[in-house]
Amino acid sequence: MLNENPINLNWKNKLDDVDGLSGEILPDKNAAWKKLHHRLQPKRSRINALWYWAAAASILLAIIISILPQNKKQDEFVKTEQIHLTPKKEFPEEVIPVESRKELAKGLAEMESRAITIKDIQLKIEAPSSKDSIQKMALISAELDVQNIAQPLQIIEQPTVQEMPVAKAIAVLGNVQKLKVVHVNELGDAPPEIHSRPFIADYRTVQIKLINQEVYTNASSATNNPGFNFFKTTNAPSN
């Protein structure tokens, strides 16, 4: 709402019409505009920055992808080169006399034969679990040319730890401790000492299975003994 004063006064028009007074203008119009422009375009600059970083990341990724297979190829090339460059170990004929050379050759032959026996022993210890692997092992031993070995390779099929007959062990235990089945009502009232003290044997039935297939089981549940009495049962196959 306008007041009752006449608005078209000369002095007011003078103030309105003037475009700018000498002392009352912006000192640096360009700097002011830059500030304003920066404020007007904050989101766009953020988006630009986002695009910039996304583009940079994609370029970097592309470069890495293109370089990686080349590196692998280079590695293979280097390996093959190394294989070719390894010199053969030969005894220089000029330096070593003939007799000592023969002795050395003998010693080497012995060492090789020993090495083969050690290998075979290791194979025996490994004890393959499946039939396929046994066949493979046999093939490998044939390739190794095991004529020098005093005893031929014997591969014994042994049951693995997973195949251990746990049921058998439980059956053996069952033979040892055949408990009479009693109804709860037949037991009558429990003595006060037993109620006051927790009966450890009720919840401590321990069964220890070792690799040599000996099973240790405590018999405290049967004897009502709070201590640890172990019974030993062997499930190993008799050889």
């Binding site: 000369n10 007011k12 007074l21």
Partner: protein, 184 residues
């Protein structure tokens, strides 16, 4: 380029058109801001805030001529100035009884140049100056001024009469130049 074309391009987000509008109108708007805000730094801040709002809301502005655009921008600037003054808590105007409306010697002011009138207004204290600007130059009534500044209507009236008295006093103090021009 015409202002109408500049406004159209600025609405579409053209930075060059916005800059042209800023260059065209900033000096005039700076003068408006300086009439309300004494400090040059504050006036510049207000000017930038005002132009920011102007460009942000330009899309909803219906251009009906240069004068309409100027009035709208001036209104934005005045609002920004009042916001800054309120923020700085400069309106410590004590409620006063309504004073009699003292008539302003318009004839005396008419003889002055724009610069002289501007200097006289700027010399007034902030409370007087604000009410004087809003009533005498922007043409608002006391009710509107009171609601804008958060003061009583009577206070607005008394501030205006005091502003006019002080202006008159300053005019007389200005002395010889004014008297000489009046005698011609």
């Amino acid at each position: 380029m015409e202002i109408a074309q500049l406004v159209k391009e600025a609405k579409q987000g053209s930075a060059s058109a916005q800059k042209c509008l800023f260059d065209l109108l900033s000096d005039k708007m700076m003068l408006v801001c300086r009439r309300y805000v004494k400090s040059e730094e504050d006036a510049e801040e207000v000017l930038l805030d005002g132009f920011y709002k102007f460009f942000k809301n330009l899309a909803v502005f219906n251009f009906q001529g240069d004068a309409a655009l100027y009035v709208w921008l001036k209104k934005i600037m005045i609002n920004e100035c009042l916001m800054l003054l309120r923020k700085k808590n400069v309106f410590t105007i004590v409620t006063e009884a309504a004073a009699e409306n003292f008539p302003l010697e318009a004839e005396a002011l008419n003889n002055l140049s724009a610069k002289e009138i501007f200097d006289l207004i700027v010399q007034l204290p902030v409370g007087y100056r604000t009410v004087f600007n809003l009533y005498e130059i922007e043409g608002m009534d006391h009710k509107e001024i009171a609601s804008l500044l958060g003061i009583a209507e009577g206070t607005s009236k008394s501030q205006l009469s005091k502003a006019k008295l002080l202006l008159q006093k300053n005019l007389l103090q200005k002395g010889t130049g004014y008297v000489k021009r009046k005698s011609h």
